[in-house]
C-alpha cells in the first residue's frame, strides 16, 4: 500500500468522523506516526465541537402567525397577469406578462381560447386579463425570432420552484442551433440522476421559446416531447438552424 500523504489525511478528516472511510486504517496509521496531522485533527475536532456548542436560538413566538398572515395577504393580492396575442413566424402566440416580465408564452394550436387561458391560469396560479401587448413584450418576442437569444431580464420565472428555475437557466445556456439531452441538464445541475425531473421541468416550462426547452431532447437525439407537439418543436429548431433528420452529423450534434 502507498502511505497516505498529509494533505490526503487532512482532507479525509470529516469522512473519518462518519466511521465509514474505507482507508480508515491507513489514516489511523498515518496519524499515529505524524504529530502534525494529529494536531490538525485535534484542532478540527475542536472547531466542530465549537460549532455544535453554538446556542440554538428560538424564533420569536410571533413568527408563525406572521408567516401565516403573510401567506394569506400575498395569496389574496396575487394580482392577475395580463395576456395578449402576438403574431409570430410559427403562428399566433399567447403571451402573459406583468410589470416584472413575461410570465408565460403559449403557442396557439387552434384550441378554444378559454381552454388555453384556463390552462395557463392553472399553471401560473393567477388570473389572466386579456389586453394589448405593450411594445417591450412584442420586442422581446420578436428578438427571439431574430436572434434566438431573447433578453431574459424581461422574462419572469421567479415564481417557479428553485429546481425548475435552475433547469430552465441551464437550458438557456444551450446555443441556438444546438440541442442537449435531459441528462446533460441534470449533469449541469450537479444532479446526474435527475434527468426525469428535468424532463418534467421542461414539460412544465410556462415560457416556451424564451426559455428554450425546445433545445432539450432525449439521449438518442430524438425530439421526444413538446408541449405543443413534436412538429412545432422541429419547426422552431429548424428556424434556429438545427435539423433533426437528414442533417450531417456534426450539425446534428447529438448530445453526449
Amino acid at each position: 500500500m502507498t502511505p497516505l500523504r498529509c494533505c490526503d489525511v487532512e482532507r479525509l478528516w470529516d469522512e473519518m468522523r462518519e466511521g465509514v472511510q474505507p482507508r480508515r486504517e491507513h489514516v489511523l496509521a498515518h496519524l499515529r506516526a505524524c504529530p502534525e496531522c494529529q494536531e490538525i485533527y485535534r484542532e478540527n475536532e475542536g472547531i466542530a465541537y465549537c460549532l455544535t456548542c453554538l446556542p440554538l436560538v428560538d424564533p420569536p413566538q410571533s413568527l408563525v402567525p406572521k408567516i401565516l398572515d403573510h401567506i394569506k395577504a400575498t395569496v389574496k393580492i396575487a394580482a392577475p397577469d395580463s395576456i395578449a396575442r402576438v403574431e409570430s413566424p410559427i403562428g399566433r402566440l399567447y403571451v402573459a406578462f406583468r410589470h416584472t416580465g413575461i410570465t408565460a408564452v403559449a403557442v396557439d394550436r387552434g384550441e378554444d381560447e378559454e381552454l388555453v387561458l384556463a390552462k395557463l391560469q392553472r399553471r401560473l396560479g393567477r388570473g389572466l386579463i386579456p389586453s394589448q401587448a405593450p411594445q417591450w413584450v412584442t420586442e422581446t418576442v420578436a428578438a427571439f425570432f431574430q436572434t434566438h437569444r431573447p433578453d431574459l431580464e424581461k422574462v419572469d420565472i421567479s415564481e417557479l420552484t428553485p429546481f425548475e428555475q435552475s433547469a430552465l437557466r441551464a437550458a438557456a445556456t444551450i446555443p441556438p442551433g444546438e440541442v442537449r439531452s435531459y441528462g446533460w441538464i441534470a449533469e449541469k445541475l450537479g444532479q446526474p440522476t435527475a434527468a426525469r425531473a428535468v424532463g418534467r421541468a421542461m414539460a412544465r416550462n410556462p415560457v416556451a421559446l424564451l426559455y428554450p426547452c425546445h433545445r432539450v431532447v432525449d439521449a438518442t437525439g430524438a425530439l421526444h416531447q413538446y408541449a405543443y407537439g413534436v412538429e412545432v418543436k422541429a419547426r422552431i429548431l429548424a428556424l434556429e438552424g438545427y435539423h433533426s433528420k437528414g442533417a450531417p452529423p456534426q450539425a446534428a450534434r447529438p448530445p453526449r
Binding site: 487532512e10 482532507r11 478528516w13 470529516d14 469522512e15 473519518m16 468522523r17 462518519e18 466511521g19 489511523l28 496519524l31 499515529r32 494529529q38 490538525i40 485533527y41 485535534r42 484542532e43 478540527n44 475536532e45 475542536g46 472547531i47 466542530a48 465541537y49 465549537c50 460549532l51 455544535t52 456548542c53 453554538l54 446556542p55 440554538l56 436560538v57 428560538d58 424564533p59 420569536p60 413568527l63 408563525v64 406572521k66 408567516i67 401565516l68 403573510h70 401567506i71 400575498t74 395569496v75 396575487a78 399553471r123 401560473l124 396560479g125 415564481e159 417557479l160 420552484t161 428553485p162 429546481f163 435552475s166 445541475l189 450537479g190 444532479q191 418534467r200
Partner: protein, 217 residues
C-alpha cells in the same frame, strides 16, 4: 485500544441529522402544520447564515410564502414526490443568498447575536456566576463571528454539516451540488475556521473532553 488509536475522532457530536418530520402529502391545506414543524430549524439556519435576527425572520417568512405558492401550483404527483425538508432548505438558502447579495451593496455591519460586553456586564453583576460561563458566552461570540467571516457557500456547508449535523448526501441535495463539491466546501470551511479560531480552540474546548451527557448542560 491504545491511547493513539482514535484519540481525536470524536463521536460525541451530532453527526446524524435531527429526526425528520414525516408528513402526509404536503399541500396548501396542510401548510400550517408545515410552518409549525419547520419554522424553528429554518430560522436557526437563516440566523447562522446572516448573523442577524431581523434578517432571519424576514427570510423565513419569505421562504414560506414562496414555498406555499410553489406548492399551490404543483400537481398531486409532484407533491407526493416532493422531498419537503431539503426543498424548504433550498428555498430558504436561495432567499438568504438574494438578500445577502442585495445587502452587501450597502455593506451592513455584522450584528452579532450576542453582544460580548452586554453579556459580560450582565453576568458579572450576578454574584453566583462562575467565571467559566462568562468566558463561554464570549467564546461563542467568537465562534459565531468566525462562521460569518466565511464566504456564503462555505458557511452554508459548515452550518449544515456541523451545526445541523447533516450527512454529505443530504447537504448535496439542499445545496444542489455534487457530493464531492460538498466535501471540498466543508474541508475549505474548516481550514478557514482553523485559521481564524485556531489559537482559541484549545481554550474553548474543555481539556477534559465532554461526554455526551455533559454536553447537554
Amino acid at each position: 485500544m491504545s491511547a493513539l488509536a482514535a484519540p481525536f475522532i470524536g463521536d460525541h457530536y451530532r453527526v446524524t441529522a435531527p429526526a425528520t418530520v414525516s408528513h402526509p402529502v404536503p399541500g396548501p391545506e396542510t401548510f400550517e402544520s408545515i410552518v409549525d414543524d419547520y419554522q424553528r430549524r429554518l430560522y436557526g439556519f437563516a440566523l447562522r447564515m446572516t448573523g442577524n435576527r431581523e434578517d432571519a425572520e424576514e427570510i423565513v417568512q419569505d421562504a414560506f410564502v414562496r414555498a406555499y405558492r410553489a406548492l399551490a401550483k404543483m400537481d398531486p404527483q409532484q407533491r407526493s414526490e416532493l422531498r419537503l425538508q431539503p426543498w424548504l432548505y433550498t428555498i430558504t438558502l436561495n432567499v438568504t443568498r438574494n438578500r445577502l447579495r442585495s445587502k452587501r451593496a450597502t455593506n451592513v455591519a455584522l450584528d452579532a447575536l450576542a453582544d460580548p460586553d452586554a453579556l459580560l456586564n450582565e453576568t458579572q453583576e450576578g454574584p453566583d456566576q462562575p467565571q467559566h460561563i462568562v468566558d463561554r458566552a464570549a467564546d461563542m461570540v467568537l465562534v459565531e463571528q468566525a462562521l460569518l467571516q466565511l464566504p456564503m457557500h462555505l458557511r452554508a456547508a459548515a452550518t449544515l454539516r456541523f451545526i445541523e449535523g447533516r450527512s454529505h448526501p443530504e447537504i448535496a441535495e439542499i445545496l444542489n451540488q455534487p457530493i464531492g463539491t460538498v466535501k471540498s466546501h466543508v474541508h475549505r470551511a474548516v481550514r478557514i475556521l482553523r485559521r481564524i479560531l485556531g489559537p482559541q480552540v484549545g481554550r474553548i474546548v474543555p481539556s477534559d473532553r465532554p461526554t455526551a451527557a455533559e454536553e447537554e448542560e
